[in-house]
């Protein structure tokens, strides 16, 4: 052994190690916490999903794929998957189109542009629970918008309607758009349009005025300028919005839970509601875990490719 066993040497070596790796050492606690609270916990949930733990007492004995098999065979979960597909598609379509439409309108040298923008974005600052309370009454079949619609002789049942369009029978369920979801969709699009509006407004302001003017000089009509020149430039923004909205819609819980709950015949049920009720109301932990693992897969199928694509762009 040589001289660095003496105290000062050890201390110096320790200090220089700390200084050289300070950045890593600062980030390390966060990495450890996230590793445990995200990655270890996901593994743990996965384990629970293969177990027999379907009562209060924890029971981690192996049950194979039974929970998943039962889940996919159940009427409720099949309904959830259907609702999820139609909800996500229409929600994303609604939010991106509305946001783009409003952003383009606000680009037209509008007086009070910021006031309009602040009005359209206001719902974003609100909790889904708060807006759920308001929307439940607006779409109450005996009240709300139906007071106006009745004057025209229509009176939709909104979230109480159990019709599925077109209602092809598939496995145990009728496949198609559940009409009851439309009320929830309107509320969700209303709430999140502000997000895509802000993104598109930022994107439009990043396109130089000259580009647009050049397009107009060429005799391109306004409409053509937008479709041929502006829209292609907004593509990366649209990707970002679609991803953010997709991960919101695949996880949607509070809005639906407050506004309609599962609905008659599960027409407005969502995997997140099923997971919450199975786990915390009925103590079917393994079943709840299986639902959440399916949800995780649905999100990651979209997020992971996006993150890799992002890396290539950088």
């Amino acid at each position: 052994m040589n001289d660095h066993t003496d105290k000062k040497g050890v201390y110096e070596r320790f200090k220089s190690f700390m200084v050289r790796n300070i950045s890593l050492l600062v980030v390390l606690p966060s990495i450890i916490f996230v590793s445990v609270f995200v990655y270890v916990f996901i593994g743990w949930t996965g384990l629970v999903s293969f177990s027999n733990w379907n009562s209060i007492a924890p029971d981690l004995s192996f049950n194979g794929l039974q929970n998943y098999i039962q889940l996919f065979q159940s009427f409720r979960f099949q309904s959830d998957i259907r609702n999820m597909i139609f909800f996500s598609l229409l929600f994303i379509l609604g939010v991106t189109l509305m946001g783009q439409f409003l952003a383009i309108l606000l680009e037209q040298n509008i007086r009070g542009k910021w006031l309009f923008r602040n009005i359209f974005m206001f719902p974003m600052a609100m909790s889904f629970v708060v807006t759920g309370v308001a929307w439940r009454w607006i779409f109450n079949p005996e009240s709300g918008v139906n007071i106006f619609l009745q004057k025209f002789g229509v009176s939709p049942g909104w979230y109480t309607d159990t019709t599925i369009l077109p209602g092809w029978s598939l496995f145990k369920i009728e496949f198609g758009l559940p009409i009851g979801l439309i009320a929830v969709l309107i509320a969700a699009i209303w709430q999140m349009t502000g997000f895509s509006l802000a993104m598109y407004m930022a994107g439009l302001s990043g396109i130089p005025q000259e580009v647009r003017e050049a397009a107009l000089m060429d005799g391109a009509s306004k409409w053509k300028t937008y479709t041929k020149v502006i829209l292609p430039q907004l593509k990366p923004i649209t990707y970002g919005i679609v991803l953010m909205m997709l991960q919101i819609s695949l996880k949607i819980f509070d809005l639906v839970y407050t506004m309609t709950g599962s609905g008659p015949n599960f027409v407005t049920d969502m995997p997140a509601i099923y997971m919450y009720e199975a786990t915390f109301k009925s103590n079917f932990y393994a079943e709840g875990a299986a639902i959440s693992i399916v949800m995780l897969f649905m999100v990651m199928v979209f997020v992971i490719p996006y993150m890799f694509r992002r890396k290539e762009d950088a």
Binding site: N118, F120, A125, V133, G144, A272, S292, I304
Partner: protein, 272 residues
């Protein structure tokens, strides 16, 4: 043709859309200002005959303790997650080390997971730490799951600070922390406001952790509001008043500092 006139159809659409966007707030406010005797499904859209605060009084008496719980949760969670996000963002953008990009993506992925997929182990862990049904437990949870977002936001902000500033500070012999406090921190005041507002709004409005980690008595205001509106016995003028009451802090922030809220939204969107 003057510009304003040429844009008449645009204004028309914008005004109609604004009315549609504001209508849920209109319903909330007019209903909350009516006494129960005046509340009827048929007159939902009409203004109250007299302004009456009795529903607010009742809603506040129901929700005030929960509002206080929410403040006790949101203030420490916001401050700590912002501070940690700032130091992480600084380390990952200005003091890159081998593997720092991998670490960043590793953190970032945590932002996208559905929290249902960690909920069962989380509750078991929180329980074994003795933090189940406590505000402290919720604070811890919001800090950990807020880290990816705050780190991302600060990293995006710090990417705009020129490297030359950091190098100059290093030339003067300043280390990691000295550079942070002398150079980076003073430049991040706006970023702290943006991240703070973003975190405050999200944590205040959060529902899933709140309903599963706390029980009766410790519930933050959003869970109490959901319970209030879910029960059949509570009149809906009181529900609406409760909804407005629970939303006051975030509404105020949006009205006073909406600009920063929008900045946060843009900073948090994953653009690279």
């Amino acid at each position: 043709m003057p510009r304003v006139l040429a844009n008449t159809p645009v204004y028309f659409i914008l005004i109609v859309m604004s009315i549609i966007f504001v209508s849920p707030f209109y319903v909330l406010i007019v209903t909350a200002l009516k006494p129960f005797s005046e509340v009827s499904v048929l007159t939902m859209w009409s203004l109250p005959a007299n302004i009456n605060f009795s529903s607010f009084v009742q809603a506040i008496s129901e929700l005030a303790p929960n509002l206080w719980n929410s403040f006790k949760m949101v203030i420490p969670a916001t401050l700590i997650s912002a501070l940690l996000g700032s130091i992480n963002g600084y380390a990952l953008s200005k003091w890159k080390f081998k593997g720092s990009e991998v670490f960043f993506n590793f953190l970032l992925l945590g932002m996208f997971i559905p929290y249902q997929s960690i909920l069962i182990p989380l509750i078991q862990t929180i329980d074994s730490m003795g933090l189940y049904n406590t505000i402290t437990g919720l604070v811890l949870v919001h800090i950990v799951y807020g880290l990816p977002m705050t780190t991302l936001m600060f990293r995006n902000f710090y990417a705009t600070i020129p490297h030359a500033l950091i190098e100059a500070s290093q030339m003067d012999g300043a280390g990691f922390f000295k550079t942070y406090f002398k150079v980076v921190f003073p430049l991040s005041i706006t970023s702290f406001v943006v991240v703070g507002i973003w975190q405050f709004t999200n944590i205040w409005n959060e529902f899933l952790f709140a309903i599963t980690i706390t029980g009766h008595g410790q519930h933050p205001v959003m869970v109490a509001l959901q319970n209030l509106s879910g029960s059949q016995v509570v009149e809906w003028n009181v529900q609406m008043a409760g909804a407005l009451f629970a939303a006051i802090p975030t509404m105020l922030i949006y009205i006073l500092a909406g600009r920063f809220f929008i900045k946060g939204l843009l900073a948090g969107s994953v653009k690279g």
